[in-house]
Amino acid sequence: MNKVIEGIAYVLGNDIDTDQIIPAEHLVYSLSDPEERKHYGQFALSGVPVNQAGLPEGNIPFTENGQSESKYSIVVGGKNFGCGSSREHAPACMEIAGIRAVIAESYARIFYRNSVDGGFFIPFECATRLVEEIKTGDDLIIDLNVNTITNRSSNKTYDLKSLGEVIDIIEAGDIFEYARKTGMIPSTGRGGN
């Protein structure tokens, strides 16, 4: 696990639901096929209303037309991030587009679980309402050694909440690696053995 995550911020508001993260019409593509899964990057966050996309100004697309990778790699969100459906396509599409961390005030629980158990990215929480502090395009650095996020564009640093008990799964990589580490499933069980 990387102890330092650097990237450009993409800022969203409250209650970003999974239909905004990946509209249902796109859920037909394979997540395991290397070519097909690129569509998820292409359509990641495409359901966000345009005036809410890339705050504070809005009208900033997350990915350029047709591209499956975004120049933004850290999403900053408000309350209840990822509410709605259990579709794992939601954290998956963000990872495919290049997201390496999300920092929100709070999460809907299935999205949070999926992010951790699937090892897509680290879902951080911050008591400060960063949506008011960070602008889309700001240059961010997360330091897990001291549990902070620094906005290098404004030279401000904020404390992140502890990751709590899920840190063990995050450090292992995903729920399967965690279960292998703890002996719940055999470590030789992978890849057809």
Binding site: D19, A24, E25, V28, R109, G118, G189, G192
Partner: protein, 433 residues
């Protein structure tokens, strides 16, 4: 110290005498349900992690109910059904309900109940957030992602954080024009879309226990719209009557202790409830129907796991009988069984199917259909800036297929009354006259 019904079921499935909210425990699953949207991804992870030739932990506990993108020409969607078929064949799974055959059912949460997979005291995980629906049967049920589902396929287990429980009690009798949908929209409006995050929502009180299983399912179905981990109602004779007609499988009835600890408790007087809508674009954007009478509508939609059960259509038909709708009205039974019941159930000698046809409504095949938008050729999918009144569960931006559409969530009574007038209408006008 006592435990809630949710705590007791989780403890029993973790082999423990007791658990407390916040405990992280591993529980054994009784049923794992998946469908066409999440099944293919789940199976791919299962094979990657446990091996190409690995077998699922218990064939009899895996239930696959395709329901989302069924009646479409979308080639990727149809390919995904083929992936389900292939996995079912490889694993010799007995509980699969194949589209295009007599065995096709429709919306998974309602099919789970109708096919006898909801059993008091069990734990059911499903790759769909509305899996909370099954909690109406006095069981623990919750939605999970592909990764967690693949983990269960291989191990039969999943880690769960024991949720705190919020108790919602309704005493007295609901007015005749009030449905469970009004009740859940009231509660979501009161506590907000994250008001129950990571918590159990337990429904209690004599008004709740007078409800049919279908209405109880509506209450538990939308627990997720308040962020809840599960919704739950203790099983009683109404539950057992339903369950015994559907399965011989064993069950166990749990009750919350009198000294159980609740994180939150609120008591409502059932007789004071009013018809409620959730205005665009959030299920907690609560308003009384009486405050929205000037909202002009383009279409009405009655369907989904939330509002496409036989009791929902009985309610709608009661208002539509002998009248014509003023706006496009879409009727989508949740399952084939519900659809068949539309031909059997009658009001004043006329079948529900005839009532809907004579009223000028459009009838769709059983599936999730336009509740979540879906492929472009989905029946009832919202277009442009249409204003829709819908018995479904979510009105997030774009949810029903158009980012510009305005969706009002409402009960089947309110949706039917509004279909007759073309604007949001209080069903009491039709019921009490």
């Amino acid at each position: 110290m006592g435990m809630t019904i949710t705590e007791k079921i989780l403890a029993a499935h973790a082999g423990k005498d007791s658990v407390r909210p916040g405990d992280n425990i591993w529980v054994n699953a009784d049923v794992l349900m998946t469908h066409d949207v999440c099944g293919p991804g789940t199976f791919a992870i299962f094979k990657k992690q446990f091996g190409e030739n690995a077998k699922v932990w218990d064939r009899d506990k895996v239930v696959i109910i395709p329901d989302h993108f069924i009646f479409t020409k979308d080639t990727h969607a149809n390919r995904n059904i083929d992936i389900l078929r292939q996995f079912v064949q490889e694993q010799s799974l007995p509980h699969y309900f194949d589209p295009g055959t007599d065995n096709y059912k429709g919306v998974c949460h309602i099919a789970l109940a109708q096919e006898g997979f909801n059993r008091p005291g069990d734990i059911l995980f499903g790759t769909d957030s509305h899996t909370s629906t099954s909690g109406a049967f006095g069981m623990f049920s919750t939605g999970i992602g592909n990764t967690d589902a693949a983990f269960i396929l291989g191990t039969g287990k999943l880690w769960v954080r024991v949720p705190e429980t919020m108790c919602f009690e309704f005493i007295g009798t609901f007015p005749e024009h009030i449905m469970a949908k009004d009740v859940i929209l009231t509660v979501i409006g009161d506590i907000g879309v994250d008001g129950a995050t990571y918590r159990a929502m337990e429904w209690r009180g004599d008004a709740v226990m007078k409800l049919s299983m279908e209405e109880r399912m509506t209450l538990c179905n939308m627990a997720i719209e308040a962020g809840g981990k599960n919704g739950i109602i203790e099983a009683d004779d109404v539950t057992l009557d339903y369950v015994r007609q559907r399965t011989d499988a064993p069950y166990k009835i749990y009750h919350s202790d009198n000294d159980a600890q609740y994180f939150f408790k609120k008591t409502y007087n059932a007789s004071e409830m009013e018809p409620i809508v959730a205005k665009p674009h959030s299920p907690d954007n609560k308003a009384k129907v009486s405050e929205c009478l000037d909202v002009k509508l383009d279409r009405a939609y009655i369907g989904s796991c939330t509002g496409g059960k036989i009791t929902d259509f009985m309610a709608a038909a009661r208002l539509l009988k002998g009248k014509k709708v003023k706006i496009d009205t879409f009727i989508v039974p949740a399952t084939r069984e519900v659809e068949q019941d539309l031909y059997k159930e009658k009001i004043g000698g006329e079948t529900l199917m005839d009532i809907f046809k004579n009223a000028g409504a459009y009838l769709g095949d059983p599936s999730c259909a336009a509740c979540l938008g879906g492929p472009k050729d989905t029946f009832g999918r919202a277009k442009d800036n249409q204003v829709v009144i819908s018995t479904t569960n979510r009105n997030f931006p774009g949810r029903m297929g158009s980012k510009q559409a305005y969706v009002y969530l409402a009960s089947p009574y309110t949706a039917a009354a509004s279909a007759l007038t073309g604007h949001i209408t209080n069903p009491a006008e039709f019921i009490n006259n």
